[in-house]
Amino acid sequence: MNDSTQLRLRLIGVVIVSLMAALVARLWFLQSVESEALRSIAEGNLLKEVLTPASRGLILDAKGRPLVTNKRVTVVSIDLAELDRVLPATEMEDERVEMLTRLATELSGSGRLTKVADLQSAIEASGLRNIGKVTVATDVSPELFVFFGERQDDFPGVQIESKSVRVYPYGSVAAHVLGYMGRIDQKELKSRNAEWNLDDPTAKVYLNDDDIGKTGVEYMFEGELHGTPGRDVYEVDRNQRVIRRRDELSRAPIAGNNVRLTIDVDIQKHVEQELARGLQTAREAEPEPKKNPTDPDPPVAKASAGSATLLDPMTGDIIAMASYPTYDPNDFVGGISTAKFNALNDKAAFQPILNRAIQGQYAPGSTFKLVTAYAAMTPGPRDYPMLSAQGIGGYLDPKDDPGYYTIPDDLCKVQRDEAKKETGVEFTSCTFINPDLAKHPALDITKAIAVSSDAYFYEIAAMYDLRKDFDSNTIQMAAELFGFGRTTGSGLPGEFPGVVPTEKYLKEAYAKAPAAFGRDYWVTADTVQLSVGQGLNLVSPLQLTNAYATFANGGKVLAPNVAKELTAADGKVLRTWAPRQVGSVDISPEIRGPLLNGLLGAVSLPGPEGDRGTAYDAFHSIAKGGIDFALDEFPIAGKTGTAEVQGKADSAWFVGFGPVKPEEPPRYVISVLLEESGFGGRLAAPVAAFALNDLLFNAIPSVASSDQLQQCQDLRSPAAFTREPSKYEVSVKRTTTTTTTTLAPSSTVPTTTVAVPTTTTANTEQRLTVPAAAPNLPPLECPPP
């Protein structure tokens, strides 16, 4: 071998060494230097995470009775992609209809009446064509599981699965407070999940087909009620085939937190019933006699909507909040039909979906006089109040109300000049009349409130507007102090702030909607209207109730609480709600006394027709549609209101609180509003009187939940246990069930759950009791069938 060959061989050797060195170097780089970065990719390759929904937290009433629970139901849905693949809509329309017909037949056969048209409209209403999943039946017989499971080929796209859905055991009771749930939409999914780091295993993330609270407490406490989904982590290969479960990385779902409300379901139901009854009374009531035979007929009192709210004035707890008309949130379970949803939002049907207690906006009428009176008795931004020697005379100086109020000539000229300057219009009225020209002699502030004189307050308002030594916005400022013009802080979703009208507000509102307001300048009449709760003044029932609560508790503006306590699924208390003070009104005893007496007088001041307390009849006279209320035991202070609405019958108001005792704080403040009904004293005040009377002096009956009603039903007729076997059971159990179904209804029932009365009563019906819905309550007596 010559030198040249050796040289070449060496060259080859060098090449080999460098190549191998390059391999080792690269290996080192990958496994040492780049290792961390690429290893995370390896983890992602390897693990597949399946999220399993957690059970949603319960909503309980003040005594711990479940108002909203969950149950597992069997859901039939259609996978549109699969349906479209096997039976395309256009090409195989007949086969598709035929399949849906068979599906409808099976669903009906299992006990859930379903028409083919229902299925078709469900598919169409989804707005999806060949993607996604449409639920066509919820809560079907679990036996269908096996049936459809074995017949996948006969029912292309039909899926059957188990799902947890909401149950509202008390039906429509407190529906507006509880709210309803619906399927999460893509926007909500995105924004909700954006709050979480999706890699955090404790993140309360949402799944595509999760339901989410849309209104009420369900929405308000969505973040608490929604549980932490479980994570099943699997190691998979590149074809997503599961190799094994990684138990150490998997986590069980954590149920959502439970919310205990301040609402008491018994009182809630009671208030709802009284509200409905009050509206019925208003509908059936004779119209007010016309003053003048030539007057046009007043608008018909439709009395189809209203609200009643009961608060604890010392804590701000909402004990009951009723809105009429109402709805059953169970209708939303498993998806509500478009027709049904539209009906709930139909304005002609008074929008049952609306929670009028927070979303209704009404002129407060005379109930607002408390605010005007307070404003007139306090100095406000000046050194002296309007009702003083420097103003229009002290609040104890008696004045006559001749049925109208006329502005003194000198000030009238001022008003006319101002109006002319603004508008060019020559004449502006300087006389404001009471709606019914009612006359009231010798009024001080107390009696003016009790008999609800308008003229008394017209004067105060006109002076604020025209006298240069007073701030023209004094009444509005007082209103804002009491919490008007902003949401109460209850946290309930969709609450409206109402309106405290000022010149500034009018100008802005006019700029936005000129047609609705007609003018952009403020006139004296606006302040005059405002003082008696008319005009542009708008409040929500909760707001008004809360303002009276503020007066009742001595001046603390509290944000109403709807929730009392938040607990984890294991019972651990996570949060409790104490009274939340968000403002205060300085109510000195000199002011509080006359005002309180005025409110007490509205309920208790006797007198001739037209010159007694406006709510006197409601709390004294059964003949006049009221009740003989034990005011000695439970003195009530209150105020009626009759708010005029253009083209409609008046809104009837009553707000009151009690007991008014020196040694005892007030326990309840209640407001009642009846839309398109009539006089507050005649129609709204009795509702409050009835509601409080039963609440205080007659034990109101416990409301039975649907479960308890079912238990009662089962105890009464044990035969109901043995229902006709469905065709799905028949194939399995025919031989055994044929004999049992012929059993005569047994008269013997389990003795442990039945209390047979020892004394014979007129009622021969057995008195049955079933366990209470919460552990700290006595057993529930079954209502008579």
Binding site: M1, N2, S4, T5, Q6, R8, L9, L11, I12, G13, V15, I16, V17, L19, M20, A22, L23, V24, R26, L27, W28, L30, Q31, S32, E34, S35, A37, L38, R39, I41, A42, N45, L46, E235, V236, D237, R238, N239, R241, I243
Partner: protein
């Protein structure tokens, strides 16, 4: 000690004393790499959802047995007699490579296999040692020109000799194996003493040809992608860069100590495609880590060192060229196969010698080792 063990090996007629000159380290290194490779194949295939866990290992075991026998037979056979058989070998090679294009089994759009029952044979693999012998014989046959650099005419003739099997293999198409042929030819030409300027001209021609191939339509898009993906990973098609990325992820996942035998999660999840064949080094890298991976490369280096030594002590240029050819073949395959899984070489399907699953490749590799042994054993005769 070694001598006493080896002396018990039965002596073949006329081969007295030959076994004394056998190179045990060559066999030990090959054996060690093979054992490691079999373990890796088992790890890579035991999770196969459709086949029994030991299916691949059993088949590989059979191939190893055959390979060892073939190695022994080739080693015993006097390599010098191969010179006469070279023309016949070349004709057979052309016939087989041509035949496979006609009656061959097509797998993954490549027609490279003869199917016999459940056994598939890849003639291009067997053609590798044949072309080595053919080229070695071609450059050393003439006593008159012994010691002289090969003439241009001879070089061009050699080029044609190589071009024929390369062309046939490209028709399958199997770019990787074709490249191996090119590398073998280059190494043999260099060692045959070609003049530097001829080598330069050859290099220029190769560069020109490569550029032409890459820019023309000769290669399918996927082949071009595979060749260029390591230069520009972002531009590659998703499937190609997936292979590359997964392989590197697996190797990185090993780290220095490795995830442990049978504990490689990427391997278990079979994220790397072809992980028992061309990408087998990703399994080594993940489960045995840098320690195991560099040990494997070290074993290959030991093998190469011995072969390099054998080439320098060969008794005639024919033998030296054979050894260099085999050496070049194995070095290129090792570098290409491992380099590909680590992203420093283009993706072309080349098995890692002794390690990758595949009977044809394994038997061919052992036969080549047999050739080297044959040269070594006869270095004094």
């Amino acid at each position: 000690m070694t001598a006493s063990v080896l002396s018990r090996v039965p002596r073949l007629r006329g081969q007295d004393g030959l076994w004394r000159y056998i190179d045990p380290s060559l066999i030990i290194a090959s054996g060690a790499i093979t054992a490691l490779g079999t373990l890796m194949i088992f790890s890579a295939t035991r999770n196969n959802p459709t086949l029994p866990a030991t299916y691949f290992v059993e088949r590989q075991g059979a191939a190893i047995a055959i390979g060892l026998v073939v190695m022994g037979l080739v080693a015993v056979f006097d390599y010098r007699k191969l010179r006469e058989l070279a023309p016949l070998g070349f004709l057979g090679l052309v016939a087989l490579l041509g035949g496979v294009l006609v009656v061959g089994q097509e797998i993954n759009e490549t027609r490279a296999w003869f199917q016999f029952g459940s056994i598939q044979l890849q003639p291009a693999e067997f053609a590798k040692p044949v072309i080595i012998v053919v080229l070695a014989a071609f450059f050393t046959g003439d006593r008159a020109t012994e010691g002289q650099p090969p003439t241009v005419r001879r070089l061009l003739a050699a080029l044609v000799l190589v071009a024929v099997p390369i062309g046939l293999i490209m028709r399958q198409p199997d770019l990787g194996t074709a490249l191996v042929f090119g590398v073998i030819a280059t190494a043999v030409v260099i060692m045959a003493g070609a003049r530097p300027r001829h080598l330069l001209a050859l290099a220029l021609m190769l560069t020109f040809a490569t550029t032409a191939v890459l820019t023309s339509d000769t290669l399918d898009t996927y082949q071009r992608d595979r060749l260029t993906v390591f230069i520009n990973p972002d531009k590659a098609s998703a499937r190609v860069s997936y292979n590359l990325k997964q392989a590197q992820v697996a190797i990185s996942n090993g780290g220095i100590p490795g995830q442990g035998l049978f504990h490689g999660s990427q391997t278990r999840g079979r994220f790397v495609p072809e992980q028992q064949t061309d990408f087998i080094f990703s399994v080594v890298g993940e489960e045995l880590g840098f320690i195991g991976g560099s040990m494997l490369i070290g074993l290959f280096c030991l093998l190469f060192l011995r072969m390099w030594r054998i080439a320098s002590v060969a008794r005639d240029p024919f033998g030296a060229l054979i050894v260099v050819g085999v050496l070049a073949m194995l070095v290129f395959q090792v570098f290409q196969s491992i380099g590909m899984t680590m992203g420093i070489m283009p993706i072309t399907g080349i098995p890692l010698p002794f390690v990758s699953y595949g009977g044809s490749s394994l038997i061919t590799t052992y036969a080549s080792i047999g050739l080297v042994l044959s040269v070594h054993m006869r270095r004094f005769s």
